[in-house]
Amino acid sequence: MINLLTSGSGFFLLLLFYTLGAIGSLIFKKKDEWANGWQSLFAIVGSLWGIFFSISAFMTGDLSFAAYSSVFPLLSFSFHIDQLSAFFIFVISLITLFCSLYGIGYIKHYYKKYSISALGFFYHLFIMDMLMVVTASNGLFFLIAWEIMSIASYFLVVYDHNDVNNTKAGFLYLVMTHVGTAFIILAFLLMYKFTNSFDFESIQAQSVAIPVFIKNSIFILALIGFGTKAGIIPFHIWLPAAHPAAPSHVSALMSGVMIKTGIYMMIRLFLDILQPIPLWWGITILIIGSLSALLGVLYALAEHDIKKLLAYHSIENIGIILLGFGSALVFISLGNTLLALFGLGAALFHTLNHATFKSLLFLSAGSVINQTHTRNMEEYGGLIKYMPQTAFFFLVGSMAISALPPFNGFFSEWLTFQTLLQGMTSVNILVKSTFVLATGALAITGGLALACFVKAFGATFLARPRSTEVAHAKESSLSQLIGMGALALCCLLFGIFSGYLGSLFKNIGTHLTVFRNISLPPILSSKINFIAPNNFGSVSALALIVFLILALFIVVLLVKFVINRNQKTKIGATWDCGTNLTQRMEITATGFARSIILIFAGILRPSIQNEIEYRDSKIRYFPKSRTVTLRTRDIYRLYFYLPLNKFITTLSVRAKAIQSGSINMYVFYILIAVAIALFLS
């Protein structure tokens, strides 16, 4: 059993589970329940096996094997699983396990509307390809897996095709990912040109042969390509459109794990393959990271669609991961490998944490939408009284994402802060100012994320229901609760045992080529707490949580049972200066975020539009209803993508003149082409 686990066949068994799941769910075209049962069963079993396999692969270290020789000369279906890919397999399988658990209950509401077998097929295809993407060690094979992953996720995004803007979002997603893939293909071609092979090992071996200019252009191409997939700021416009469109357990998977494949490939490329990297790579990634973090959270604040809000937060957290990763790159180019390892550890830990709490948030948002049939936060309110467990899980998720202590978000953000702090002590003024900028951005992002999640949780769950839909919302089904509960538990456990996890990230790093040669393994963290290098600071997750719970227990004990024994509590109406309280008096999501939006008006460009509806045309004094809509214009679409689009359309219209419609003209063009070809040869 053990050698089965650690050898290549273990991985093929994993892929087999998913292929069986995919084909199986196609068979049950007619019976929805069977299809749902089959696909969830295989997904759960597959992901469980994935977790065991990744942990054992993690322990044994490098594992490289080839599936079978391919017909084409350059393509070889060869896999290479080192610590880094094992870690990503673990993340993918963990989140798939909980999403499929959640899916059992969630898919029920699609039963009569859409074909469940299609959902099952693409779901399994999507996961299988993500696993292949993170383990492929041949460029072409990687591109094939990457392409199937994008297409499978496209079909999942447009799954709910009754809603027209889902299909539009799907189209935008398809175009953007393929633009990104085009850049990636260019980068691979450039690499092939100078190392004439697509295998990552051989590229890595001859990476010295790549001239500097080419290496920089590869960096830029790869950054744009993988950045589009990861959703960094200038290329992010597909993410808030596509993720909300997909069914919730799929959008949890997509934003929890799929955008991480972009990060995985960046780590693989910049840290593993293209070694001796110049300094400015790290600086650009740091700047992009702080920009994405800050702007991501600002756009999330201006958002009133709950799933779009969570999608923008994925951009913010990707920014934070890039901060950790960028500082690792800067430290390597400055030669300080100890700090670089620490930075990489911060980035990887935040990847794991973001996967858990983001999928938890998406799942709980999914069950809220499931009950209220709308994604607009203005129509929620008071859901905590109808869906108490979901509200609790959403609270856990929002506490974890806004980096509040007992949960895992805080500890990864703590690591990122420590790396940035170390960066600030460097001598080079350019590096220092970027680090100061990055720390400032991260600090303000933390504050704004807190404000955003108070708005999200408060507007959705607290106070009184603001629409009749909410009144008959019921608690989500058992399987959904188990899925969310397990994820919430993971958030807490990863928080408490973050010290232990820290040491795991240390030996992920040591297996990458760039760190292979460092002498003393740094003490990243002892069992109970994190220790920043040259003991810059240390925090112990366990002590903090025990201390908090102890203090809470004593306070409750003292106040409730010792001092306040014979006091009674009366249930009365909310005091609102004596006026009768309607639910219009409550604060809405727009009202909450309005002050922050006006403060950051320069960036967000808010446009306030109020319409007044009169009872009839004659009397103008008593309007029937007055609505204020506060919208922020999407400056990327306005100033970057629309002009680009217009330029391409004008170009193509002018080129249309060639199509004269007569065959003779076309053959004439052929003649000219042949002549030129012959002439040139």
Binding site: G661, S662, I663, N664, I670
Partner: protein
């Protein structure tokens, strides 16, 4: 076989394509095409005599049957059914087409294509002639508005390419030959159907009227 006989055959081929440009009646064009394909089969026969692989003989017979017999029958039946005796006019008037044809043959023989035409120095003349036949038949398609003559133009283009290939000594495997011929046969069927549809829709074989289909 000696070079002169081959040169003579190729000359007839070139002349038949040349005639296609001048032919007023469709019937004449079809006949010219059948002569062409007859010459191609003869050339194939000569190369069979040198290599005398039995399979090549079988290929020659198949080409004979399809190109020389079947194709003209298809076209003739088409002409009779729709009584298309006269082929539609050309873009350029007669003298201009002749000048262009002369230009093409000059280019084909010029230095520019030297690297192409003397792959086998011995066959230099033959190759340049085949190349000029290629350019002439290509020009035929451009010049003629008539769908039928365009179809014949494409077939003659194919013949000139085969000729060029044989003389350039590209030993294609007989299988490839057989594939090409099978391909042409299918293409023929489709072309005839297509031409009859054009006729039924536009009332004449003038392909320039297809411009209105564009939005």
């Amino acid at each position: 076989m000696n070079i002169f006989f081959l040169q003579f055959l190729l000359g007839i081929l070139f002349l038949s394509i040349f005639y296609l440009h001048l032919a007023k009646k469709n019937f004449g064009a079809v006949i010219a095409y059948s002569i062409q394909s007859l010459i191609i089969t003869l050339i194939l026969l000569t190369s069979f005599l040198e290599t005398n692989s039995f399979f090549l003989l079988f290929v020659v017979l198949v080409t004979l049957v399809i190109k020389v017999i079947l194709a003209p029958i298809f076209f003739l039946r088409l002409i009779q059914r729709h009584k298309l005796t006269f082929s539609v006019s050309t873009y350029l008037n007669l003298p201009l087409t002749l000048i262009v044809l002369a230009g093409f043959t000059a280019i084909a023989h010029s230095q520019k294509f030297l690297s192409l035409t003397n792959i086998i120095p011995v066959h230099h003349a033959l190759l340049s002639l085949a190349l000029s036949a290629f350019f002439v038949s290509l020009f035929l398609i451009i010049n003629r508005k008539d769908a039928l003559s365009q179809a014949i133009g494409i077939l003659s283009l194919e013949n000139s390419i085969v000729a060029f290939a044989i003389f350039a000594g590209l030993e294609q495997s007989p299988m490839l030959q057989f594939g090409i011929i099978f391909d042409i046969f299918i293409w023929l069927v489709i072309a005839t159907v297509f031409i009859s549809m054009i006729y039924r829709h536009f009332g004449s074989l003038d392909t320039s009227s297809m411009k209105h289909l564009k939005d």
